[in-house]
Amino acid sequence: MTKNPYQPMLATVIAIKEEVGGNRAIKTFKLEFQDEKVKENFNFLPGQTIMISLFGIGESMFAISSSPTEKRYIEVSVMKLGKVTNALHEMSVGDTVGARGPYGNHFDIEGWKKKNLLFIGGGIGQAPLRSLLNYCLDNRNEYDNLEVIYGARTSEDICFKEKFDEMQKQQDVDVHLSIDVQEEGWNHFVGFVPANLQRLNPSPENTIAITCGPPIMIKFVIQNLLELGFKENQIYTTLEMRMKCGIGICGRCNIGNVYVCKDGPVFSYDQLKDLEGDM
């Protein structure tokens, strides 16, 4: 029989890190493939996605949030929202999940060498960016300036918080955080991410801007980037859609004639603006 692309490989949850608590809880799961060969040889690139199965519950597509430089395991950061993610948040270390992938295209890590990278994330949208950011940090001298603009609803909702602090201090990355509404003790920006972007006014010179977050945020971030003088091919985003098969057959994740699962999730605004479709 030809290989069954719907059949997942087994992976063990080897660590769980609680990033955000409360109603919009986010956890990062470290997964290790059970098959020794797969564990050794599983390769992916930043931006690619993976289908995580919970047997008896269902399957969901997540961006891999760890960097490919970290070998022998992968990480996914998941917000508790639907049936699968709720069940995933109930998991504990040692439990088995299914995983198939990696799927989709990726960030152009080769082509972006020697460039400035501007990461603009909102909420859980930082997850796919984290993979690329960590990759860049591991290959710090290949890339020029790294800058992160990140916003969340409240200070409680900021994910990868410690990492941001660490980057700012040690790794020569400019991090600009924001929250939506003023809170006591918050001394960074207050307002939405697009507004923070406008305020910071980054230079488009030799820069690639990569953004991910809620659809409405992406829309205004792109608008603002264009106003700041970024060209269409300097703006990248990674999209999400409801997905079932992950391989371009089941038909639900299309934007125009493009399937986000296999032709995406990474799109330049250049491609996106010509795509007429429901997003």
Binding site: M1, K3, P5, F55, T85, R242, R252, D278
Partner: protein
């Protein structure tokens, strides 16, 4: 192409022969409509039908399919499901429905090296031999000729039967077809020139009997300019979102995947889904890229007449007319495309 004739009274014998070696599927009438079913007795078959209510895509792209089974709990295991290994013959398929398979092939079998292949579809497709049956009397909403096809087209079948009165005119199209007939050659005789002429006439008569036509010229380009046209809202106003069009369509291929489980074991299955349902694209966050019927109706038309031609160089419509026949609110795809052609942009 080799041409033979089979006299009608020998048909049951042929079917019985085939049924003894293959899993034979054919049209059977039940409860006032025909559908393709497994056939044990050639008497059951009903060739007096025009189109089966549910398209024969269900034979290859089954409505419910087990993708894999699993054991859950402490010892998690994933198992490949048992699949149907039987060689099949699908008898009596109409040329338009056979064309439906050809349209679906690139979706499930991949277009190029390295594309994912759907093993369930591919396997059933490869193991099936199609014996087509030409339509002598097309239906009111038949418009296969609009897609460069004909009611007696042999392009997408392995063998084609055409009713020429007392006999069937038989076109052997592919090697697979030849192989099937080989052992049955005693039932057939060589086709005469006269037979061929009758066949041609039957085909021409059938083509002439088709009254409805869809002009697809330039539609892909036109649709590119019509995404925000109010035609979609106007059409969608009367759509009730029932999804019959997609369930009966021979080229609709969307599916849902769900887990079914009892305490210790279960399976992931896939079932037909429909882009006409709001749940189809609903994100867990509550965001829905296609929140209104307008978006969904538009997506259906675009998928068939813009996205498919762009990706696979073919319109995802066979002209079978099922969606027109069974739409409860008279959403008529011929009419829509005609309106697209007329629309000002």
């Amino acid at each position: 192409m080799e041409n033979l004739v089979l006299s009608k009274e020998k048909l049951p014998e042929m079917l019985t022969e085939i049924a003894s070696k293959y899993a034979l599927f054919g049209p059977i009438e039940e409860n006032g409509f025909t559908s393709f079913k497994h056939i044990n007795n050639s008497q059951e078959i009903n060739l007096d039908y025009l189109l089966t209510r549910i398209s024969p895509k269900s034979l290859i792209f089954q409505q419910t399919e087990t993708l894999f089974t699993f054991n859950k709990g402490k010892e998690v295991k994933v198992n490949t499901p048992k699949t149907d290994e039987a060689k099949r013959v699908i008898f009596g398929i109409r040329p338009c429905d056979a064309r439906g398979y050809s349209i679906l092939d690139p979706v499930f079998e991949g277009k190029k090296e390295g594309d994912y292949k759907d093993p369930f579809y591919t396997k059933k497709r490869n193991r099936s031999t199609l014996i087509g049956l030409s339509c002598n009397k097309p239906d009111l909403n038949c418009f296969c000729t609009s897609f460069d096809d004909s009611p007696a087209s042999a392009k997408n079948v392995d063998i084609l039967f055409t009713d020429i009165g007392e006999k069937y005119f038989v076109d052997i199209v592919t090697e697979k077809g030849k192989e099937l007939i080989e052992n049955l050659s005693k039932l057939f005789s060589k086709a005469s020139e006269e037979n061929r002429e009758v066949r041609e006439k039957v085909e021409q008569d059938a083509i002439n009997a088709i009254t409805r036509h869809m002009n697809t010229e330039g539609v892909v380009k036109k649709l590119d300019k019509m995404f925000n046209h109010d035609l979609w809202q106007k059409t969608a106003m009367r759509c009730v979102g029932c999804g019959i069009c997609t369930f009966l369509c021979p080229t609709c291929h969307c599916f849902d995947m769900q887990d079914e489980a009892i305490l210790k074991e279960g399976a992931r299955i896939r079932v037909w889904d429909s882009c006409m349902y709001p749940e189809y694209t609903m994100h867990a966050s509550g965001h829905n890229p296609r929140p209104a019927r307008m978006n969904r109706v538009r997506n259906r038309i675009y998928h068939k007449f813009s996205y498919f031609p762009k990706n696979d160089k073919i319109f995802a419509c066979t002209g079978c007319g099922r969606c027109i026949d069974y739409c409860p609110v008279n959403i008529d795809i011929i009419d829509i495309i005609a309106k697209v052609k007329e629309a000002k942009t």
